[in-house]
């Protein structure tokens, strides 16, 4: 039997105003100028793994397809290499738009469970918030624990290499004025641009 799915989009599938909202965030203003030339996808090293190409993400965002965009793998596959932003003929800061979309997806908790990238981002930020610095080993261990503990086993060889060459350290890194961080960030309105 042939499985078929309907791909038509109805106007009700749009979250109207989403595109405008994204374009009002610092760094994302140029999106309205996109001419869908595909340069971003053409230079993106990860576009070949994405469910939507970066160009499509631009089109979907501008057309208010919020759910499609925030659920896409694309935003998590962006490695922040900025190739697209540098090459875009309309000077759209695509990388920054990807960050904005990631923020919204995390804020609204719509990303695949156990998907390691948002987990890494979250663990990273929590560690920075608490300690002020990153202890790489702890970060990696947490990541594996929360996503795929078998992954840790598969990487034992690398761990051994790192240990052997003295690059893994269990000493917990932190800054002295940890209270400062909290005071400093207390006044910062998180997710300024993010919608409800």
């Amino acid at each position: 039997m042939m499985l078929v799915t309907r791909t038509i989009k109805y106007d009700a599938d749009r979250v109207k105003g989403f595109g405008r909202e994204v374009m009002s965030v610092p760094g994302c203003e140029q999106l309205s100028h996109c001419i869908q030339c595909g340069t971003c996808s053409g230079v993106c090293p990860l576009s070949i793994y994405m469910d939507y190409t970066p160009r499509q993400v631009m089109a979907l965002t501008r057309a208010d397809f919020k759910n499609e965009v925030l659920r896409s793998h694309t935003i998590w596959l962006c490695a922040s290499c900025y190739a697209c932003a540098v090459e875009c003929p309309r000077e759209i800061r695509i990388t920054d738009i990807m960050y904005e979309l990631k923020q919204r997806a995390i804020h609204e908790q719509i990303y695949p469970r156990h998907f390691p990238i948002p987990v890494l981002a979250r663990e990273f930020s929590q560690m920075v918030l608490k300690q002020g610095r990153i202890t790489e080993l702890l970060l990696v261990l947490k990541l594996f624990l929360k996503t795929d503990w078998r992954g840790a086993l598969a990487n034992w060889r690398m761990g051994w290499d790192l240990f052997k060459t003295g690059r893994l350290s269990l000493a917990r890194e932190h800054i002295q004025q940890r209270a400062d961080l909290e005071r400093m960030l207390a006044g910062v309105d998180g997710n300024q641009g993010a919608g409800p």
Partner: protein, 675 residues
């Protein structure tokens, strides 16, 4: 002030809605109601389109019926319709200068979004005009004779066409071209789209006609260095660079070239975009006009660093024999001419592909610019039309990348307009000449022209691949065996929705059109403007596309913006028609805005004399006073503003008129009484 003598004044005020252009922002009836109660105003009307025939007739009728002696129209910019309304007022029996225009479209309704603020501004501007117009005087238009000769700068297809049109009308034309031959870019093209007629076949007859036409004085290898004067009476200086060959004596036999001590051509050939070679003595291309050889002192053995040394055997002299056309001592020469009008047709240059490093021009030998390919496919080109690459290979697959340097904020924001069509043409020719597989990479295909879309359809039928996507990069690193030793293009096939890597042997970059590098200098020379992108600025984008803000100076062709051959030829014709209309009128009407000396006030301080760049101010020894030569005065008013005794005045811009205008602008005490 303005109200003092308002008793005899009978001012008619008209405000134009201009459809929604003004009416949607400015409350026109309210402005009319407000103006109606100003001193001296006997009637105020608002009307949909004042510039229409009924609008003008309305003014004429009112002048008679209400015995109006002054008229104010609030509508668009005076630069657009001042003449229109002056004529209407004249038709109504009034002196045309008993009129003032108020700009409430370009400088009010189009630039302000708030209707209240825009309406208040319109009232203030109207108040100022009403205050001013009462002080207007009856003036007469002066007539100046016009020199019927014409200067045309640039000998490309635009300059050639304009020159022939004007010369055929019996006028003297001076055609100045920087290169050793006329022909411009078109002479380099192989075929022209969409008809695929041979560029040389349609251009050469016109070039020859220019060369022999009795009314055309052709100066190639020359540049305009100085322009003085004004419409109807320009003095132009042209510098003729030495070509070391006497044009009148050279017969174009080219025996000197054959006999040159360089047995083989050795130096990059500019005409062939550096793909071919030439000797130090050369003729740019077989159909060159004039058919006169040129010596390049940079590489000729007889010169060192441009200085004559006489170290060569000078076999060319022997070859020329008793014709004695070659003259190593030729010097640069200056020519002076008087003309009444000027057409600038200096064309464009192509975008430097090195500015887009990701496409590898200059790094990978098999990446070509479109202009290079024009020479490559040309039967008279360096490879006689064979598609042989720089590394000697013959391509089996070719990628044409559109929009190189165009539609890109980092290079040029504009669409260069011709690249889609010439890319299609080159794809067709490359396919025809090499049998290679052709890929066109485009963002949008733009084929708006007669027969253009049909040409695109023909290419589709020929099996040329069209991939909608802007190429990310051209690179030489291979991922798969078939990519080895190829140029690889990574691109999103946006219509298929995935990224592709496409290996090709040759890449063609469809470089865009940009202003000539010396456009800013040329602009200064002729006192015209450039747009922000650097092309020459037309007087009005729709209604005066070949005129400039300088009377008597016209523009044609790609110096005004990217355009193809049919449009360029049409523009050249339009510029020629404008010039002929100007000349055949026989005289020029001069605005009565010249300066005059108020004799009783002049103290004879001579402050004004050095201020006039046109030497219109002279010293009358007998009366010990300054005198204005009306024929020379251009009407800037600089001397008027500088006279310490107030002894100079300017027509249309009298001091009292400006003061009245300021009073009107700022005195809003009348506001309170307005309904």
């Amino acid at each position: 002030m303005s109200a003092t003598n308002s008793n005899h004044l009978r001012i008619g005020f008209y405000i134009c809605h201009c459809g929604h252009n003004i009416g949607a922002v400015v409350d026109c009836p309210a402005v009319a109601r407000y103006v109606e109660q100003l001193p001296g105003v006997v009637l105020a009307r608002d009307y949909k389109y004042m510039c229409s025939d009924p609008g003008q007739e309305l003014i004429e009728k009112d002048i008679a019926e209400f015995r109006l002696n002054r008229v104010v129209v609030a509508s668009c910019s005076p630069l657009l319709h001042e003449r229109t309304f002056r004529s209407a007022i004249q038709a109504g029996g009034l002196n045309p200068f008993f009129f003032q225009m108020v700009n409430i479209r370009e400088q009010d309704s189009w630039v302000h979004a708030d209707p209240v603020a825009a309406t208040e501004k319109a009232k203030a501007l109207a108040r100022a005009a009403v205050a001013r117009v009462g002080l207007h005087c009856a003036l007469e238009v002066h007539q100046m004779p016009i020199n019927p000769a014409v200067l045309i700068v640039g000998g490309g297809i635009a300059g050639i066409n304009a020159a022939l049109t004007i010369a055929r009308a019996g006028k003297q034309v001076y055609l100045v071209e920087r290169e050793p031959s006329i022909g411009g870019h078109m002479a380099k093209f192989d075929k022209t789209f969409p008809t695929l007629d041979c560029a040389a076949c349609i251009l050469t007859p016109k070039m020859s006609e220019v060369g022999v036409h009795p009314n055309i004085k052709l100066w190639t290898y020359s540049e305009v260095t100085r322009v003085e004067g004004y419409v109807g009476n320009y003095q132009v200086t042209v510098q003729r660079r030495p070509r070391y060959v006497n044009e009148d004596l050279c017969t174009g036999c080219q025996e000197c070239i054959a006999q040159c001590v360089y047995k083989e051509p050795k130096f990059p050939d500019r005409f062939n975009e550096g793909l071919g070679k030439r000797k130090p003595i050369y003729i740019p291309f077989p159909q060159a006009t004039p058919q006169v050889v040129v010596i390049d002192p940079e590489v000729c053995l007889n010169f060192k660093r441009g200085q004559l040394t006489g170290k060569c055997k000078q076999t060319c002299l022997a070859a020329c024999g008793e014709r004695q056309a070659i003259n190593f001592r030729q010097q640069s020469q200056l020519e002076q001419v008087q003309v009444g009008a000027i057409i600038i047709a200096t064309g464009f240059q192509t975008f430097d592909a090195r500015r887009v490093p990701q496409y590898g021009y200059g790094v990978f030998p098999n990446v070509y610019t479109a202009l290079e390919v024009e020479r490559l496919v040309n039967a008279a080109g360096p490879t006689a039309g064979e598609i042989v690459l720089r590394d000697g290979r013959r391509p089996e697959s070719i990628g044409v990348i559109h929009c190189v340097g165009s539609r890109d904020q980092k290079t040029h924001a504009w669409c260069s307009r011709v690249c889609c069509m010439y890319s299609l043409k080159l794809a067709h020719l490359l396919h025809e000449h090499s049998g290679a597989e052709l890929y066109n990479f485009y963002i949008d295909i733009r084929t708006p022209g007669k027969g253009y879309e049909e040409f695109y359809d023909k290419l589709l039928d020929e099996g040329v691949h069209f991939i909608r996507g802007r190429v990310g990069e051209v690179t030489d690193w291979a991922m798969t065996p078939e990519e080895e030793n190829k140029l690889v293009l990574r691109v999103e096939d946006t219509l298929a929705g995935f990224v592709r890597r496409i290996p090709v042997d040759m890449v063609v970059l469809a470089t865009g059109l940009e202003p000539q590098a010396d456009a800013p200098a040329v602009r200064r020379l002729f006192n015209i403007s450039c747009g922000s992108e650097g092309f020459f600025l037309e007087r009005h984008p729709k209604l005066a596309p070949v005129s400039t803000f300088t009377d008597g100076v016209f523009i044609a062709g790609a110096c005004q913006g990217p355009r193809d051959i049919p449009d360029t030829v049409a523009q050249a014709g339009a510029a020629a028609a404008e010039v002929l209309a100007l000349i055949d009128a026989g005289h020029i009407e001069q605005e009565p805005n010249t300066a005059r000396v108020i004799a009783e006030a002049c103290s004879g301080c001579k402050t004004c004399l050095p201020l006039c760049p046109f030497t219109a101010l002279t010293w009358d020894e007998a009366r010990q006073q300054a005198v204005v030569n009306d024929a020379l005065c251009k009407g800037c008013g600089t001397c008027v503003a500088s006279c310490p005794s107030g002894a100079l005045a300017q027509g249309l811009f009298e001091d009292e008129q400006v003061f009245a205008e300021l009073e009107g602008l700022l005195n809003d005490s009348l506001q309170d009484t307005a309904p």
